[in-house]
Amino acid sequence: MWTDQLVSAKQLSRADIDAVLDHAAEIDENPAAFADRHTDKLLALLFYEPSTRTRLSFETAMKRLGGDVIDMGSIEASSVKKGETLADTVRVIEGYADGIVLRHPSQGSATMAAEYVDVPLVNAGDGAGQHPTQTLLDLYTIRKNVGFDDLTVGIMGDLKYGRTVHSLANALTQVDASQHFISPDSLKLPRRVRYDLHEAGANVKEHTELDKILPSLDVLYVTRIQRERFPDESEYRAVAGQYQIDAELLEAAKDDLIVMHPLPRVDEISADVDATDFANYFEQAHNGIPVRMALLDMMLDNE
């Protein structure tokens, strides 16, 4: 049951998604009403790779619920450096905290950790694997702005390594969205994600260019093409330019298109998009708070 441990977006049914988003909307409306919900609760933030943004988002959400957080400090200073296994660490922390948020560079780390503990556990990113809470805030943003009915989503950029993309693609099948994936050939969706989409009977198309498909989109979800993924700089420069959007390019889009990005962005969305109505990425980031509050509230309550 996901209310114990949220490891993958694949665990979430349409009803689960609606339940979290409805609760997030309720919190969004009146955050003060939830300020004393978990005054006696402690959440452990175990971040094995740096992610100030996601860590602060969880920390803020927990504190807004009246609870508190503990963390293990920097990796360098922790027992991780002394060689303690993740399996041992989570079993120790389970005795201290009411819930665990785990970010770890290895794929499958959250799945493994969940086998060792009974406290609520949230996967806050496992390598190139999953990032289900990002997906929930993405879905919240989409539902709030354009709704789930007859939804067409374009997802563009690094589809191979982008865990936010993998989780989002899984979840979008639950709301029957049409999904268009736009990337260089070398950064297409990995086999395991295609397999899941195929199994779920998802409505999916793949493209190498954005222009033809852009006018049909309700959402354009952009991710960063990482320079370090390319064997040489010239190969990177050859593709990167094709996957940058600016205000002029968006003139071909529907008026109510929203442009999303999990952030941080580098240059894939030019600054002139920020001033347009298309820009949605900062609101998207802010939505992380009510969504993570909703999630933690439901998981800690369930305990």
């Binding site: 993740l86 399996a87 290895s106 794929q107 780390s109 799945t111 190139a128």
Partner: protein, 153 residues
């Protein structure tokens, strides 16, 4: 016993693994941990003509019956294989392999970023799909040359 099977000598007791896809016999030996050093008599027929498979391999292992784990893993690379238990030159029992739903602790995950390749107290576990296996942890799908991923230990 057909003409073709006679190309490989009869054994007194042990196991005959028949209908292995042509070229996979050495991988079957690898799964069984047989490299000839432990003394058991082993006969191998490779690329023997077969009505069912076109060409097939056969492995006969003297004085040894297989564990269910071994049969499960063999089924991944030889889904049509049949296992014949021989006692006193007679076939005591003959059955087809069945593909298990999952295999635990026998394959290594090829994804270097998978948690099962870290120093963690966790066994690998793969879900068996129609034509592939999938890591339960990192979800990597292995379709080709599954035998190459069999653990050494």
């Amino acid at each position: 016993m057909s003409d073709h099977e006679l190309r490989v000598s009869k054994i007194k007791s042990g196991t005959v693994i028949d209908h292995i896809p042509g070229g996979q016999a050495l991988n079957v030996l690898a799964i069984l941990g047989i490299d000839g050093s432990t003394g058991e008599a082993v006969s191998v027929g490779m690329n023997v003509p077969s009505d069912r498979l076109g060409r097939k391999d056969i492995v006969k292992v003297e004085s040894r019956e297989l564990s269910q784990d071994e049969v499960d893993v063999i089924s991944l690379i030889a889904p049509m294989a049949s296992i014949n238990i021989i006692r006193d030159y007679e076939v005591q029992r003959k059955h087809r392999v069945e593909r298990p739903d999952s295999v635990e602790g026998v394959l290594e995950c090829p994804n270097p970023s998978c948690i099962t390749n870290e120093r963690e107290p966790v066994n690998t576990r793969f879900t068996v799909l129609d034509d592939a296996v999938r890591c339960d942890y990192c979800e990597t799908i292995v379709r080709d040359n599954i035998a190459a991923h069999i653990s050494d230990d």
